[in-house]
Symmetry: C2
């Protein structure tokens, strides 16, 4: 099997070719521009690659309801030119193949459940903490879609009493994303996160907010693994702080050994590292190929 995979991010696109073992055989990446320019590059990459199907995990919000007339479209995004764009339709027109189609974060959750930190488990949540905060959810062996798809970067969190930063989310100001995504760290401390030392109080505050997100997903989705990826999570000192804060918040309420005594292997970085999204798109593509073959 040769399957195409697209990880469509807000700042860059990654296209790859992989097989059913989850091995990426070849890849390219380029900056995200307007939809026509960007998809022209995507299509040029896949044109002669003889893939059986393509899986797409993309920034959103997107329409993933197959019964909707705008299925496959990007719905609303601040990215110029992309709002309302028929991403999936444009791909199908240029390269008529079976397609998998989901959010970048659902794809990453699926990649982790297929070959990564949640391999073999029937549930996980995947948070990415970078320029924004997104969340993908895999529950009872299925990616969560529902009405739209999870958008758990925008949950409300309790502000730390000493945090005076107002938050940058244009919709909710001080929601999780507004207080804890990369730009919030930079604006609050007037330095990028990568330039802050590991012992800086910024990380304790970051863990304070991310732990609330983790707690909320544990209480609503009861996942078998909670995965945190994205640029901000490259700070290894964050994980111990985050786990400790989750235990403090839950205060023994969820009496599962996986949480109470196994927290170090319950809240984890992606097993696939930076490949979670692309591998997840590959897994979506494999499913699309298999469904087409049935």
């Amino acid at each position: 099997m040769r399957i195409g995979a697209i990880e469509a991010g807000g700042t860059k696109f990654v296209c790859g070719i992989g097989n059913e073992q989850g091995t990426i055989l070849e890849r390219v990446s380029f900056p995200t521009e307007g939809p026509e320019e960007t998809l022209a590059q995507v299509i040029a990459f896949f044109k002669d690659k003889e893939v059986e199907a393509i899986g797409i995990g993309t920034f959103g919000p997107i329409d993933i309801d197959p019964s909707s007339p705008t299925y496959g479209h990007v719905t609303t995004t601040p990215k110029p030119g992309w709002t309302g764009y028929d991403f999936l339709g444009s791909m199908k027109a240029a390269l008529p193949l079976p397609y998998g189609w989901d959010t970048d974060v659902n794809a990453a959750a699926y990649g982790e459940a297929t070959w990564g930190a949640a391999q073999g488990l029937d549930s996980c949540v995947y948070y990415t903490v970078g320029t924004g905060i997104g969340m993908g959810a895999y529950s009872e062996g299925k990616l969560v879609h529902g009405l739209v798809h999870p958008e758990a970067g925008h949950v409300l969190v309790r502000r730390h009493p000493e945090d005076t930063y107002e938050g940058f989310c244009p919709y909710h100001a001080d929601c999780l994303e507004g207080l804890a995504a990369g730009p919030a760290i930079e604006k609050r401390w007037e330095r990028k996160g990568v330039d802050l030392p590991p012992e800086h109080e910024a990380w304790r505050l970051e863990a304070y907010y991310l732990a609330q997100a983790a707690m909320t997903s544990i209480l609503l989705l009861s996942p078998r693994k909670v995965i945190f990826g994205g640029g901000v999570m490259k700070q290894p000192q964050l994980f111990p702080l985050l786990r400790q804060e989750v235990l403090r918040l839950l205060n023994g309420y969820v009496s599962a050994e996986a949480v109470l005594s196994g927290i170090d292997s319950y809240i984890v970085p992606p097993g696939l590292g930076d490949n979670a999204g692309l591998c997840g798109a590959l897994a979506l593509g494999i499913d699309a190929a298999n469904q087409a073959a049935d």
Copy 2:
């Protein structure tokens, strides 16, 4: 088909017989006592009823992981005698039949998805707001179990700046349940909710907290219907306040017509009224009978 249904609540048990149309043909209820006394009454009721299977929706937390050695047990509960009790095993020993087994709130969500407000939809969440707050989740056509099961009554909420009540949750003090379940209303206002007039400020505050719960479930699970039942929700003035507050909180972020323009039919009371839990247990029992027949 004659199927048994048990809605096992913290204060009362309801046992019923129903059919595959969701019709309850017969029912009894009695107060919840210790497990032996209570199950003796349950078993006496079903003994000569010739049901094909029994579905149980019960208070918890409970173990619903079929691979667990304590599957079918109540895990931890303040109710005397029930902690660690093998509820399902005791039923099977007395009445060897196929059983469905889930939380009371997951059962209610399933009842609503089968015959109620979410009939025909592949997802919904069901909140019960009474002496505690519980939540059941149905997603992509399956009840959410995962590691344990949802426990979304204990999510953290932002306190209203004018609310000085400390909250009554023994684990988290001022989590959702601690601030918004029936006992919180009574302790804060020194009168039971049923004795407060519809225009009392208590209801606006209640909507303030419940709307955060609704928002959180919309952002994490993206359900096609959000259902609020339980004693506190018998106050009809709560629903308009709750819907208005959810729209204010989301601030247009979830751009789905079901939410933006259809909120009156999106956040709703149970279509089955007080029968949601018992009908859900019936639906679990029907599934158990069908699985046994396969």
